[in-house]
Subunit: 139 residues, 3 copies
């Protein structure tokens, strides 16, 4: 019979960049005993976000962070800068990449491709403590 | 036992800009009696979309609309302009921001961060009537 | 009573561009016998992705591919180019558009708008075989 489980996972980010969280999410799924279902991750912030990309190359992660800086640059573009010049670009990057992900779980594992990893993307310059709500429906 | 509910919510947009819909979605969830589960929102259009960003600053919303205009500008770039110069940029912005969101519901409330609001983003210049399908699985 | 079904759909892409997959997904849903629920699609790759846009105009699709090329161009920007100049732009486009979608299913049909189609977006120049995990919860 279909049931559900939910939690909140905490992560510390070292400032702007990507932190892989695949292992933490997988470990929590394992603990629920649910074998088949749907896992949803929701990042509770507006200047950090979630994305899926290559899990094997730190050059990919650096290129992605640099590209996000080009697409949503700091500078004199913004009316809102209450928390400094990196705040509004951080909001834009969070919208571009998105704050939630839903991934099927099959035979006890997320249906990720071989090269896919789940990343928490920190868009502020400073280190932050970030929270991700995780929810699993299945049996 | 897990059950489900679904509806379609209607919104009127005043033309290009963000309209917060968090309250309308929350009110509908309250009415279902489902306390824990997963809510999914799907915008039924290709020139309006859904996003999550800061709920407290209209400067953030203006900056976001201006940034979307810079990333997907009107102008001589497009083969498709059947409905005017703002149509193709609207399709691009809808793809960039996305038309669906899934958010865990815990203890009767969406697991949103303190500063997160759900917004319907209108990308056409003219006011429109927009429809969002809402679905909730849980108990 | 709520149940679930899952599969993996295979697609061949002709290289960079959009391939509509709405019909294949709908046909699979029909076969499950589930009338109301939530379908989730997850693309198992980091250089192809999923998006929803207008289903009736090939000019829209061409404009979208050209726009993605402008936002994430090939060129001398990237540290990572192990698989050629189109690899890193492909990773960026996959993050911009996203690799998963969740869509309510109502009365046996996905709750898509009249003009919405689901597309597999190939971001590499060469043809590829791509896999999409599909999961349906409902009854």
């Amino acid at each position: 019979m279909i049931g559900q489980a939910a939690t909140r996972l905490q992560f510390r980010t070292p400032g702007r960049g990507l932190t892989e969280i695949t292992r933490e999410v997988s470990a929590w799924i394992d603990g629920t005993g649910i074998e088949t279902g749907l896992v949803t991750l929701h990042c509770l912030h507006t200047s950090a976000s979630l994305l899926i990309t290559e899990n094997a190359s730190s050059a990919v992660w650096r290129d992605m962070v640099a590209w996000l800086d080009r697409v949503a640059p700091e500078g004199g573009y913004y009316a809102h800068d209450d928390e400094g010049p990196d705040e509004m670009p951080a909001h834009l990057k969070a919208v571009l990449t998105g704050v939630n992900l839903s991934i099927p779980v099959i035979d006890g594992r997320m249906a990720l491709g071989t090269w896919q990893g789940i990343f928490l993307a920190e868009h502020r310059r400073a280190p932050h403590r970030r929270e991700v709500a995780v929810h699993l429906l299945g049996e």
